[in-house]
Each structure stands twice: as C-alpha cells, then as structure tokens.
C-alpha cells in the first residue's frame, strides 16, 4: 500500500477469555483464549464448518458467545468494538446498484475519510472499473472492493474471512502487501482460511481448529 494511504494506529488489544460457542447441539469451540496485540497477525485455520467464521464474528462484536468474555482495548482503555474493527466477511457487503466509485465514496463519507478515493481505488487495482456497477464485477474484483473498505475505514484491527478466496495471483500479492503495511503501521489482523498450505503473512501465529472427537 502506498505510504500516504497508511494510517498510523494507536496500540490496541483484542482479548478472548475462555470463550465458548455452541451452535445447536455442536460445541464449536470450548474455552478459547488468546490475545492479539498491535502489529500482530493471528491466522485461524481449519476445515469448513468448524467455527472459524463464528470466532471472527464474535471478535467483531457481531455475535455473542455462549460463554466467556471478549475485551477490545485501545491505549489500555476499553472501547466499543466498532472503534477498532473493520470486518471483511464472507459476504462482501456491497451495494449491487452502486458503481465502484459510488461505493468507495459512500464508505469514505461514512468513515469520515478525507483522502481522495481515487487513491484507494488505484491501490486495489480497480481504476479501470470506477464506472462499473459492483454487481457486474468478478468475484475477485468484489473482494478487492471489500479490501478498499478496510483501508478507508482506518480501523486498526482487520478481521478477514478467507481473504484470498477467488483472488488471482496479483490479488493475492496485493493482499500480502496490504497486510504487511497495515501491520507495519501498528495495525493487527485476525484472519481465517481453510487452506493449510499457504501461510498467511510471514510472521503469522497460527491457531488450528480441529474436530473434537
């Protein structure tokens, strides 16, 4: 990411304390604890349906766990998760009827980001597509547009569900470079993939979920 688009982040921390999640009869995870600090990346890895997305949604404050506590802190003070989190879900969260430029402009306004949106659009490689409706974009291009929102939000903690899904080679290296500069600027990342082979980021800590026998 070009340096003029990187936002320097305050120190922050996400804490999972003995968190459990039950869906129906199945215990997805039991007494999960971890901490994620500024500049760190935690890579959650596991098969489909094992609870990766549940962890991410709980970490984003979008779902409640069955047990346990989650704390979001910025400079040692408890904050609302919405001050820390930018979430790239499985669902891209784009408006079908908006063009790429309108979509970017909407989020720039809502996040009060004054940097010209063209810079962000360029950074994710969608400069040729500014007048195209998001519904007409390819799956990978939609992921790029969702990445653009992560950058525009200037939130320190990125939560990413299968970030490299449907991304081509250049898209994958784009994600890697965005992640690296986000971490270098004091941000942190919580990401989940089912892919066991490709490590996500060079210094990622890895949390592997397995079925309880």
């Amino acid at each position: 990411m070009p340096t003029h688009l990187t936002h320097q982040h305050h120190t922050h921390k996400l804490t999972f304390d003995q968190v459990s999640c039950i869906k129906g009869d199945a215990i997805l995870f039991d007494k999960l604890s971890f901490e994620l600090h500024s500049g760190q990346i935690l890579w959650i890895q596991g098969d489909n349906g094992i609870g990766k997305t549940s962890i991410l949604r709980i970490a984003a404050g979008l779902s409640q766990p069955n047990e346990g506590n989650i704390a979001w802190q910025e400079e040692e003070a408890q904050v609302n998760p919405r001050h820390l989190i930018a979430y790239q879900g499985h669902n891209n969260g784009l408006h079908h009827d908006f063009t790429v430029k309108e979509e970017a402009a909407l989020w720039a306004e809502l996040y009060d980001n004054a940097v010209p949106i063209e810079n962000y659009i360029q950074a994710v490689g969608l400069q040729e597509k500014t007048a195209v409706k998001t519904a007409a974009l390819s799956a990978g291009q939609k992921r790029r547009l969702a990445l653009l929102r992560l950058m525009i939000s200037e939130r320190p903690l990125w939560i990413m569900d299968e970030p490299k899904a449907s991304m081509d080679q250049s898209g994958q290296s784009l994600i890697t470079s965005l992640m690296d500069s986000h971490l270098a600027a004091g941000g942190s990342i919580l990401a989940a993939t089912h892919d066991q082979t490709t490590p996500l980021g060079r210094h990622a800590r890895r949390l592997t979920l397995e079925t309880i026998q």
Binding site: A60, S63, R82, Y87, G89, L94, D97
Partner: protein, 218 residues
C-alpha cells in the same frame, strides 16, 4: 444522516421493483374499479375515498417485504452498523426514503385519477391531506413489518398479517376525516386523530425496527 438518506434514495430509485409495483397497482386498481362500477361519475364520486384508500393500503403492503431485504442479504446493513451508524439513523433514513418514493408519487397520481372519478376540489384536497397525514403511519408500520421479514424469502403473506391490524385505525380515521372535512374543516377531529396515530407510529416504529434489525446479528 444525509449520506445515509442519499444512499437509500439512490438505491430505491435504481431498484424500483417494490415501489413502482405499488404505484402501478394503485393506478390500475382504481382504473379497473372505475370500469367495473360502470364509469358513471355520480356513482363513482362517493366511492372514491374508500377505493383510493384501499388501493393505497394494498399497494403499500406489496412494498413492505422488500424494504430491508437487500440490506440484510447483501451484508451492507452489517457494514453500516460496523462503521458506527446507529440503528435509529438507519431506520429513520429508510423511513424518509420510503415516504419519498412510495407516497409522493401517489400524491401526483391522485389528482389525475380524481378527474376520472369526477371529484370536486374540496374532496380532492381532503383526500390528499388524508394521505399526507396518514402516510407516515403506513410507512412506519411498513418498515417495522419489513424488518421482521427481512430474512424471509417469500414473506408477503406474513407482512399482511403483521401490518394490517395496525393499518385499520389509519384507514378509519382517514376516511372519517375526508367525510367530515366539508362541515368541520381542515383540522377536524378525525384528522387530528390521524396525525396523532402517525406520530405515535413513527415514535414506536423507529426503535422497534432498529431493535429487530440488531437482533439479526446473532
């Protein structure tokens, strides 16, 4: 708030399936009714207010299921929530945009249809006033019932069951107000009650809708 309202208006105008259907229904229903009743204006004139209100209610009921569907399904509601916008703002903006796209076109259509029904100016003015005063209540109950069924695919029938009981008092006071407009003037008791219903409906529907939408996050 302006950003949000501008977003809702643009989305509504670009994806007009819901509200255009209600406007077309409104016009077609009243035209077909005029033909079915023989096209004689002396017979049509007294029937115009109840027919217009029936067309209005049934037409609006068609739009309710789609109000929040897109936002919930494509995940934009969630992203708006994460960006720090309150559910109250999201709901208020949706209510204003729904009023603009689904009630305002009817205010233009009613005078045109009024000519066909042989309405005099006073009755026409009373009908327009009843729609302006009662419209907010219709939209308020509409967004509330729309939020309840936002995750359901085919929820048209459920919406009718939820919203119709709330809409009956609106209908009664609107028609009562039109009937007594000539003797008791613009600010008659029925229209006062209708305005009261609209205010209560708005005050109740905004937090109720916001609460329903936030319950989808679990």
């Amino acid at each position: 708030m302006n950003t949000l309202l501008w977003r809702d208006l643009r989305l509504a105008l670009r994806n007009p399936r819901g509200w255009v259907m209600s406007v077309i229904f409104f016009v077609l229903f009243l035209s077909v009714m005029a033909i079915a009743l023989g096209g004689n204006t002396t017979k049509l004139r007294p029937l115009a207010p109840p027919l217009i209100w029936m067309a209005l209610l049934f037409g609006q009921l068609l739009t309710f299921p789609t109000i929040f569907q897109r936002d919930i399904v494509d995940g934009t509601y969630e992203q708006l929530h994460l960006s720090g916008i309150s559910g109250l703002s999201i709901t208020t903006s949706k209510m204003i945009s729904c009023f603009v796209v689904s009630i305002c076109p009817l205010l233009l259509a009613i005078p045109a249809l009024g000519i066909g029904y042989g309405l005099d100016k006073t009755t026409l003015a009373a009908i327009l006033l009843s729609v302006i005063l009662g419209g907010p209540a219709i939209i308020a109950y509409g967004i509330f019932s729309g939020s309840i069924v936002a995750k359901e695919g085919n929820a048209g029938f459920l919406v009718i069951l939820i919203a119709l009981p709330f809409l009956v008092p609106v209908l009664i006071f609107a028609l009562g107000g039109i009937a007594s407009y000539r003797e008791n003037g613009l600010w008659n008791l029925e229209f006062q009650a209708l305005s009261g219903i609209s205010l209560i409906a708005i005050a109740a529907a905004i937090p109720a809708t916001a609460a329903t939408l936030s319950s989808y996050q679990d």
